[in-house]
Symmetry: C2
Subunit: 344 residues, 2 copies
């Protein structure tokens, strides 16, 4: 691995040991594994590769970064890594990056404008080759500015403007939720819609409300409530809904954690979830299926979304023109919206 005090193994040390020039070694070790254009003779190349492997040579990113101007670093900005949705997406990003020899640097923006700015600046100062933003806002002036400045980035999970993005098809997801609840006979429904600036919540809500509208049922404005994407936020909002005299028979939370909060609120009101009231979430977090009352949710391929985002970025960095991608969600019906049935 790494020797104690031994001088780090460098192109030069290899070249010297073999009586070659450093540039020859560099070309051999860089060229496509077999016979690059200006590579060395098969024999020499073999000796070089063998010695490099034996010494455990690892190119110094400072050297190559300095020379090439590229760092093979990708910056990833998310609202919070401790949000399971984002950390799972990040795992997908990092996994795909690793396969391409790229390294990712993650940072939290906390959905705060000032923090985004400083963290992005930090990443740029690190000379990342490109960025992936998981904290885009609808109508995002910051991103627009960055784009005109020539910074290369893609969005993940949330879309904004027409910056290239990889997201779930959230309108469809909202529709699936509506279809499910309507199919169970719920005509009096409410939505816990997440914060208004996130496309995820907005699109899921729009899809949901749209489906109901197309079936002649209007979801009133005061039945669409905004809240943070977390448990306590969901609980607070659900409590408000359940306190009202004519409470809904079903609640669609655009996020599993908000839904879990709603579960708690329902219990506080003495309601049995699944019979007295239907509650469903979104994202199909691993937790959802394992809860005491399993939570109906809309499954989204989060890890795959992360992978695709990284791939999109690499294509962008390669100079290609890229298009946004929408990944297909699928319904995961469980006990929280009705009589117990065999889970998917």
């Amino acid at each position: 691995m790494a020797d104690p005090k031994a001088r780090p193994v460098t192109l030069r040390s290899i070249a010297d040991q073999l009586g070659l020039h450093v540039s020859t070694v560099s070309r051999v070790l860089n060229g496509p594994s077999e016979g690059g254009a200006r590579a060395a003779s098969g024999d020499t190349a073999e000796r070089i590769r063998r010695l490099a492997a034996e010494l455990g040579y690892q190119p110094d990113p400072h050297g190559s970064g300095l020379r090439t101007g590229r760092s093979r670093l990708v910056g990833v900005l998310v609202p919070r890594l401790s949000d399971l949705v984002l950390s799972t997406i990040y795992e997908g990003i990092d996994e795909a990056a690793g396969e391409r020899g790229l390294t990712t640097i993650a940072a939290n923006s906390l959905d705060d404008d000032e923090t985004r700015r400083t963290r992005t600046k930090m990443l740029l100062a690190r000379r990342v080759d490109g960025l992936i933003f998981g904290d885009a806002r609808l109508d995002d002036a910051f991103l627009d500015r960055l784009a005109t400045d020539g910074v290369r980035f893609v969005l993940v999970n949330r879309r904004a403007g027409n910056h290239p993005s990889v997201t779930p098809d959230d309108r469809l997801g909202g529709r699936l939720a509506a279809e499910h609840l309507l199919g169970l006979g719920h005509t009096d429904v409410a939505v816990i819609a997440g914060p208004p600036f996130a496309s995820t919540g907005a699109d899921r809500t729009a899809g949901f409300v749209g489906h109901y509208r197309e079936h002649g049922i209007r979801v009133p404005d005061d039945r669409v409530l905004h809240s943070p994407f977390d448990t306590s936020g969901g609980r607070a909002v659900a409590d408000r809904l359940l306190r009202s005299p004519n409470r809904p028979t079903a609640i669609f939370a655009v996020n599993d954690f908000a839904a879990i909060g709603a579960l708690g609120a329902a219990r506080d009101h003495g309601l049995h979830v699944g019979t007295d009231i239907a509650i469903m979430g979104y994202n199909d977090t691993p937790l959802a299926a394992e809860l005491p009352i399993p939570l109906t949710s809309v499954a989204v391929p989060m890890r795959e979304i992360g992978r695709r985002a990284l791939e999109l970025l690499t294509r962008l960095l390669a100079g290609e023109n890229v298009d946004s991608e929408r990944l297909r969600p699928v319904l995961a019906p469980r006990a929280s919206t009705g009589p117990r049935r065999t889970g998917p």
Copy 2:
């Protein structure tokens, strides 16, 4: 921020514009903000600083890294970032790193030996100045080897050998749990102990069992079950416990997610948690307090643990001798272990 095609602003470009030498600029911009040893005159220094700020100069890490041999990069290896405990700790690490002008690179090891090896190699190839491991194993040959190789690292959350570490005081935490359950009259208890190679589970279990032993109650070996630190693992193990003819009256899971799984299993067995059976977790995840049946847990300052780990590493890198730190956990009693009471 970053201009479109404009040449990046460098020490040289600043020096040229001011008719100075690049080394002068460097010294001014590096020296302790006021009057370094060999800095320039107050006037010149001021001009340099002003222009640097105006142009938005950011030192190129490739250049300085190459010259100094240091990268100001810290590698962080954890089992999984999508594990809330680890991602929260990581947030603490990253937060503290940011304050010191360091950047962290995170990677998942999945608690898999091969993956650890390759990911660590990757981080080392990136020339990180030091590492923080969140996936240590009791008796960890890999870490021992790394240490003798001169790699500088600290451990977080889990301890191993006598490598410097920052962890919760898990024995104490286990004792707090035992004290709580025993105080409620539970003498017939079981432990969901997590995987056997993690010090966290082992120490929590040891503290728990030790406390009972000191009070004359033996927790039999077949009442201490190992499982992964996740919900489905906890559910499976709890199911086994509850299926047995003489089932325990209380279960201590060394992890909140395993406890949530146990909650589900209890429900499957028609038991009402809090009255029919007591279940408690560990870590006091934000979720715990918000669950339909709030989960008793042992609160651990996860974010602070991360911060301390980073600080410990910086001291280590500065050449100081460092000691491990154990942070104090505190009990968070809730409804899942007894009659509803006001939460902490």
